[in-house]
Amino acid sequence: MHAIRAARPPRWKCPPGKPERFAVLTAEGVAVFRGERLVFRDVSLAVPVGGALILAGANGSGKSTLLRMLAGLVRPAAGLVLWDGADAFADLAQHGERVAYLGHQDAVKPGLTVTENLHFAAAVSRRPIPAALEAVGLEALADLPSRMLSAGQKRRLAIARLVLSTAALWLLDEPTLGLDTASIDRFGSLLGRHRQGGGIVVAATHVPLPLPGATELRLS
């Protein structure tokens, strides 16, 4: 079991408004069980403001589980996850507001149109839907029932949900699955903009992602 530390975990809360390089998201010695099986243990990570972390590893090495754990959906059996130096999971609902999660499922309802699929995310964040659709290049399909979308277009619709969210922590599970090269480029600029705004990206992937300067955590 390998674990790396990308940066020193913070011992104090960062002063607000400073372009600090201290880690905002840290995990120390976390372990997760799925049923009876130990998925991983002793995983530590730290991601600074504007930073990116790529989770690598073979199939079944626990990348998705680690992402779900960081989202607060799966409880760690041991260890600590800190956000800005405080226990991230003290209030799960509040942690949910910090997280935008792109799972390997797109959560697209086939019976709703492309725009209607985003209504809920837009209602939560109060951001405009057309701008989000434009960011993923789906503006021409806004009124199409989403059962007509291709797999890649459904993925882009799920990415539009990230654009709508105001969360600082993006947790991405194989985000570019099914995307064409133009969409990957567009996704890269979205990631860049999110990081420039101080956001954090943690992504599980097998293919290279447009995340310059990202650290890598290899699970085994």
Partner: protein, 221 residues
């Protein structure tokens, strides 16, 4: 609270789009209730006496139908993860789902219960009491149903397990609901029965969403 209404709006929009599923419970209610005169015979005094029981049992069974998909579809396509990460606590999600189940299933059943009761020759002055009891009862059914649906979520034979879990829980509701209508039909006061139903609702209103929220958290893990 804003997210609560957003969850509700999302669910109502989905129910509207899948109108057939929404209508199924209502049609089931009307069809099963109309089987009784065929099986028992149309004698007005027999039918009228058992009408409250028929309406209650049929409404209860009809309300069970959509519970299976209440969270099932959202769990299957990953939407449930996003709902739980929306910033609304899990019990808030469960409460919104209960309310949407009530609006989509409980209210139509309530509207259909009057005509069905008349069809079964129920004494007319007892019908308002029956409906009042059903108003409380349908809310209780939605709350208990949501709780049970979240508990069996992810279980392999969840659909079979669901009625076995819900029906014993709602027997007190059935007893006092039918008793209220019976009392009114017999010229007694229905007040104590209705008050007991209201007391159950007061207890279930905070407790069921809490339990359902814990069930949802466990289901996505």
């Amino acid at each position: 609270m804003r997210i609560f209404w957003a969850v509700l709006a999302r669910d109502l929009r989905l129910s509207l789009r899948h109108g057939a599923d929404t209508l199924a419970a209502l049609l089931f209610f009307m069809v099963t209730a109309s089987l009784f005169p065929l099986a028992i015979g149309p004698a007005p005094d027999t039918l009228g006496r058992i009408a409250p029981g028929i309406v209650w049992v049929c409404a209860l069974l009809a309300a069970l139908l959509p519970l299976d998909r209440l969270f099932g579809a959202d769990l299957d396509d990953g939407s449930l993860d996003l709902l739980l990460l929306s910033g609304l606590p899990a019990f808030g999600i469960a409460a919104a789902k209960s309310l949407s189940h009530w609006v989509v299933t409980g209210v139509p059943l309530l509207l259909a219960a009057g005509p069905v009761a008349i069809m079964l020759r129920m004494p007319q002055d007892a019908i308002p009491v029956l409906l009042l009891g059903l108003l409380l009862g349908s809310l209780l059914l939605s709350l208990f149903g949501t709780m049970a649906a979240s508990i069996v979520l992810g279980a392999r034979r969840g659909g079979v397990l669901l009625p076995l879990l819900v029906l014993p829980l709602v027997t007190p509701v059935l007893i006092f609901g039918a008793a209220a209508a019976d009392a009114a039909a017999g010229g007694f006061s229905a007040r104590p029965h209705l008050l007991l139903l209201a007391a159950m609702l007061a207890a279930a209103l905070p407790l069921c969403p809490l339990a359902a929220g814990a069930g949802l958290r466990a289901a996505v893990e």
